[in-house]
């Protein structure tokens, strides 16, 4: 078919949709290979339509690419906006997570060396996720802070989403470090319920104070209450059966309170600028 081109009449009929199947098939196959005829057909396209499509294309091409984390979340069914919020959480940055993992790995290794360090690990373990929650809302590090303060968006929802994301990431890290502990594996899980209880208590306190302060209060209380007994060799006070039940009750209670008051309280996400 060298040298054969579509005549203008054929092009017009094809572009208008008035071409029978054989003409259309020939035209389409030819257009794949011939730039001249492609040019010839360009006059048949509505310029406004072409322009509108171009604007949309440019918009999408210019918007920032989704990060890997966002794409995974969207695949899992989380809404696009929520995924972006979660991905912007300061705590979920690589360096920060590595620091947490490093500290806990050190604590786990130290526990192998000396039994007393096991108790220290148990006291320190809940602080990892808690610190993560605090950092997630620390004004200085949060890239979405200004925008977040301005939206008519329930602070509670952001709080819960971010906290869930932080826990989802930090708890496995702490758990992994815990599995490196010597002896039986119950210590590896003994800090889970206290962490849950402490986190829920911190969340409940955010109605009165900013998340960072709430976490600080809760964490300090935890260390003050458990460190003396633990270091004296009685870890049962912090993580024994009684303590587990206590923290479970705290978690459920705080969770229920949050659920009941979610529409009536405002969360102070940070001091306004």
């Amino acid at each position: 078919m060298t040298g054969w081109h579509l005549n203008p009449e054929a092009i017009r009929r094809y572009a208008e949709g008035a071409a029978p199947m054989e003409l259309a098939a020939s035209a389409e196959a030819h257009l794949m290979k011939c730039a001249e005829c492609r040019d010839a057909i360009s006059s048949s396209v509505d310029t406004r339509r072409a322009g509108a499509i171009w604007h949309e294309v440019v918009d999408r091409v210019d918007s920032p690419r989704r990060s890997v984390a966002e794409r995974i979340l969207v695949r899992l069914g989380v809404g696009e906006a929520t995924a972006r919020l979660v991905a912007a959480t300061p705590t979920l940055r690589g360096p920060w997570l590595l620091a947490v993992a490093g500290v806990l790995a050190f604590a786990a290794w130290a526990a192998q060396v000396d039994d007393r360090f096991l108790a220290v690990f148990l006291v320190v373990a809940p602080l990892g996720p808690l610190a993560g929650v605090a950092v997630a809302f620390a004004g200085g590090l949060d890239p979405t802070r200004e925008i977040g303060l301005a939206t008519p968006y329930s602070g509670m929802r952001l709080l819960l989403i971010r906290t869930a994301a932080v826990l989802a990431v930090t708890v496995p890290i702490v758990a992994a470090a815990g599995l490196a502990l010597p002896g039986t594996h119950w210590p590896a899980a003994a800090w889970l319920l206290p962490t849950a209880g402490l986190t829920c208590a911190a969340l409940a306190l955010t109605s009165r104070m900013t998340p960072v302060v709430a976490v600080g209060v809760v964490a300090t209380a935890w260390v003050l209450a458990t460190a003396p007994a633990t270091l004296a060799g009685r870890p049962g006070f912090a993580v024994g059966a009684g303590a587990q039940v206590f923290w479970l009750a705290v978690a459920i209670g705080a969770g229920a309170w949050l659920a009941v008051t979610r529409n009536t309280i405002t969360i102070k996400l940070g001091r306004s600028a």
Partner: protein, 179 residues
């Protein structure tokens, strides 16, 4: 609109430039390929909004995956491959009534046109025209649009086995008529 001298680069040079982030090249590629893509996709889907969306998706994909073109064949064919697959996905999602897909198959031709076409396009055209609409649709999807059996099955809403048997029947019939 300021008129610019036509860009002398070939499509393949433009695509290489797009892979490096050249927006001018992308704009030129869009200018060259939007018209035929719009018409060709428009003949396979009667909803202009859907076609616009699919074309948009296609060009965004062209921008993002320009580096992945294997440099074989025509750029137009590569763009078409992206476009038709997006169309298949979009039609699958919105599930239009089957009638829409068959529109292209039912154009009336006058007796005069029939003769002219037979002269211009030879017997193949006439043989194709004598196939039933289902067989023609399968031939169009696999041979002309370049879809695989699975993709053609998704587009036409029939099982892949049916696509294969219809292709076999179409081939047998065409061979018979062109023998």
């Amino acid at each position: 609109m300021v008129s610019r001298p036509p860009d002398p680069r070939t499509d393949s040079q433009l695509l290489a430039a797009v892979a490096e982030g050249d927006r001018e090249a992308f704009s030129e590629l869009y200018r060259r390929h939007l018209p035929w893509l719009l018409v060709r996709l428009g003949r396979r889907c009667s909803s202009p909004e859907l076609v616009d969306e699919v074309v948009q998706d296609t060009f965004v994909a062209v921008w993002r995956s320009a580096g992945r073109w294997d440099r074989r064949g025509e750029v137009a064919a590569w763009i078409w491959g992206i476009g038709i697959r997006r169309l298949v996905d979009a039609l699958r999602r919105s599930r239009p009534p089957a009638g829409e897909l068959m529109e292209f198959a039912g154009v009336e031709t006058s007796a005069e046109e029939h003769v002219l076409l037979a002269v211009q396009y030879g017997d193949v055209g006439a043989a194709l025209a004598s196939l039933s609409p289902e067989l023609r649709a399968v031939v169009q999807a696999t041979v002309l649009d370049g879809l695989t059996t699975r993709e053609a099955a998704r587009l036409l809403g029939i099982p892949p086995g049916t696509v294969k048997t219809r292709m076999m029947r179409a081939r047998a019939l065409l061979r018979e008529r062109l023998a």
